[in-house]
């Protein structure tokens, strides 16, 4: 990570603006970068992340597409084979299921199965939805599919800083990168240097240092982990919070080292847990500790059901700061303690209310 911005050039930006700025900069810098996907050029501009770019770079480099996710992914791969650097945007990760054949069978494999003669510098952006009745088909965090397949990289930045730096790194990467965003993160503000920088693949960040338990929060769940850390602090439990940032390649070493130090690990997934990122992390930690003492480990994530729309069930579907804190607390105290922190106003989740 090249982090040498002078403090003077650091502004507070939203996650939305960070993505837009990175895209803008990469497009300005390299005429081979182009941006397309359903609705990228419409008045809402993918919730603002593509705002102004069609005016600046023209409709050949920035364009909306037909409702044809499969062919547009295939076309993106073709463009990449021709030396362009396409960014293909999906407003929901759920829709990427239409493009699995191209991603799994072509994008991930072209470099290898063509013996290195081809490569696919492609960025696929997709957004995970949450709350306000998104429901079963507008809420999925299916990134484990992409972690599973060799040949793809996967990144899920949680801060504006990382959003910009990861987007820049993803665009410059010579390989397909699945760029995972979360709708609720779009409201997040944070310091973002004005200069160019890249947050490179394969390095996790220790967001908060701690000694009693390690919390790994993926994508939006990083936010809930940071809040959980505050709840835990108030009852004398010191949590270390790690943001993996890149899910493939995954920085297992940083997580293993932390879990070894604290002796306890909670991974909070922004998706289902079965064969999920948390499963991968727990398995990797387990393997790393084979033959010696292993940390106490727990996964959290979506309830093992499709996402319900009604708020009464949705609340139980997702982990949140308080349930994460409770889980960590139990791990620290070696069993169910029945402690659940009272909700604090300063640690409330942002809820998002429609329309969409």
């Amino acid at each position: 990570m090249s982090d040498e911005a002078s403090p003077m050039s650091v502004r507070t930006l939203s996650y939305v603006d960070a993505i837009r700025e990175a895209t803008d900069r990469e497009m300005a810098r390299d005429a081979s970068v182009l941006l397309f996907g359903l609705d990228v050029d419409d008045p809402k501009a993918i919730l603002g992340t593509t705002q102004g770019l069609v005016a600046k770079y023209g409709p050949e480099r920035v364009f909306g597409t037909p409702l044809s996710e499969d062919a547009m992914t295939g076309a993106a791969i073709g463009m990449a084979l021709a030396g362009l650097r396409p960014i293909h945007v999906h407003i929901r990760m759920d829709f990427v299921m239409l493009a699995m054949n191209q991603l799994v069978n072509m994008a991930a494999k072209s470099s290898y199965m063509f013996g290195g003669q081809q490569h696919v510098p492609l960025v696929v952006r997709s957004i995970i939805g949450k709350s306000w009745g998104q429901g079963a088909q507008h809420s999925q965090g299916l990134y484990p599919f992409f972690m599973h397949v060799p040949g793809l990289k996967v990144v899920a930045p949680s801060t504006p800083y990382d959003a910009k730096g990861c987007m820049s790194a993803a665009v410059r990467d010579d390989n397909p990168v699945m760029f995972v965003e979360h709708r609720i993160l779009y409201y997040r503000q944070g310091p973002v240097p004005e200069n160019d920088y890249q947050v490179e693949p394969g390095r996790a960040r220790i967001a908060v240092a701690g000694s009693d338990v390690t919390l790994v929060g993926i994508s939006y769940m990083q936010l809930e982990c940071l809040r959980a850390q505050r709840y835990l602090e108030s009852v004398g439990v010191s949590a270390e919070v790690i943001d993996p940032i890149w899910l493939a390649p995954l920085d297992v070493d940083t997580i293993v080292a932390s879990a070894r130090r604290t002796g306890r690990l909670v991974v909070v997934d922004n998706g289902w847990t079965t064969c999920g990122a948390g499963a991968e992390i727990l398995a990797a930690v387990g393997e790393a500790c084979a033959g010696g003492p292993a940390p106490s480990m727990q996964r959290m994530g979506f309830a093992p059901v499709p996402c319900p729309t009604t708020p009464s069930l949705e609340a139980a579907f997702y982990p949140n700061a308080r349930t994460i804190a409770a889980c960590a607390y139990d791990l620290v105290h070696g069993g169910a303690q029945g402690w659940l922190p009272a909700e604090r106003d300063d640690l409330k989740s942002i809820e998002f209310k429609g329309p969409f």
Binding site: G133, Q134, P304, P308, T309, L313
Partner: protein
């Protein structure tokens, strides 16, 4: 219009069509009005302006015919006889909702009335409808299936795969494309190399026709004739494209003319040619007032009942992932 002149004599039909149109319009206007409040718990894609299609089609169907649709499904659900109370309860996220509060506005269903479901992913229910029709044909049932979808859905590959298979196996499915010209804020011209959707369908050997003006009698008559041919088993699947206009924003209660991608003038001829108003004018005032009053009462009742329905209990979270016999 010939057709519609003829139909005018059938006062009962006129009243049925009016009742259904007015009811849907009022339900959706009420939803829009109440949307800023706290009761509706999911995004809504309103059909206001497009009701004549669902009504014209569904009034021409038999009760045991079935329909599949999209997230813009209120009109279809109600026109096919879907339970209003359960629809509003669903929008409110209550356990008495048609999907027990688990589906919301985008996943309406009422199997008893033949509303087989709607999907938030564009074009997904098209092949489901074809498969359902295959089952009917296999079992020699004289029922038909209607698949509703938008102009945007015809860009998805699965649409062509579905059309091909339906035509190959000659299954009793009626495809109804509701062409409002837009996919969110992008016009058909920006998405399709030619605007002739019917021509593309015909190239698969399927009969296709386009109804230009959204006239509810035309739609009704066309579907009645198509359904009769399909039931008799001598047509194979059929395709109807209904031109129409969405008056509200893509999702949400408001309008979208201020966004600049289209203007009120663009849609003016549609708004002036409002099916609800046109049908209202064909019905004697007293009769119409009675229909309206009944509709108002039913709607008021539905909202009241929905508000009184509880939210699902915590144990509902884990139910229905798999079938419970």
């Amino acid at each position: 219009m010939n057709e519609s002149a003829m139909r005018l004599h059938d006062a009962a039909l006129v009243e049925r069509l009016y009742r259904s149109l007015y009811r849907i319009r009022r339900v959706e206007e009420d939803i829009a009005r109440r949307y800023p409040g706290n009761d509706i718990k999911s995004p809504v894609h309103l059909s206001i302006g497009q009701e004549a299609i669902a009504v014209g089609v569904c009034e021409a169907l038999a009760p045991d015919d079935v329909v599949f649709g999209t997230y813009r499904g209120h009109a279809m659900y109600l026109a096919k006889g879907g339970d209003l109370d359960r629809m509003i309860a669903e929008l409110f996220g209550r356990v008495d909702g048609c999907a027990r509060g688990k589906g919301g506005s985008m996943h309406l269903v009422d199997v008893a009335r033949g509303v087989m479901g709607t999907s938030a992913v564009v074009a997904t229910t098209i092949p489901n409808a074809v498969g359902y029709a295959y089952a009917m044909k296999l079992r020699r049932e004289p029922r038909i299936v209607v698949s509703f979808f938008g102009d945007g859905a015809t860009e998805e590959g699965v649409f062509y795969e579905s059309i091909n298979f339906a035509a190959l196996k000659r299954v009793p499915v009626l495809f109804v494309c509701e062409n409002n010209g837009w996919a969110i804020h992008t016009h058909q011209r920006q998405r399709q190399a030619t605007l002739d959707i019917c021509g593309r369908v015909r190239a698969f050997g399927m009969d296709a026709q386009r109804i230009e003006d959204g006239d509810v009698f035309d739609i009704h008559g066309t579907v009645a004739a198509a359904a009769a041919r399909m039931r008799a088993g001598d047509s194979g699947p059929l395709f109807i494209e209904c031109m129409t206009s969405r008056w509200r924003e893509h999702v949400g209660p408001g309008e979208d003319f201020e966004l600049g991608f289209r203007s009120r003038e663009d849609e003016a001829r549609w708004i002036e040619d409002d099916a609800v108003a046109k049908l209202a004018a064909l019905i004697p005032e007293r009769q119409r007032a009675a229909v309206d009053a009944a509709v108002h009462a039913e709607i008021e009742n539905a909202f009241t009942r929905a508000a009184a329905s509880p939210f699902p209990d915590a144990d509902e979270l884990h139910r229905h992932v798999f079938h419970e016999r």
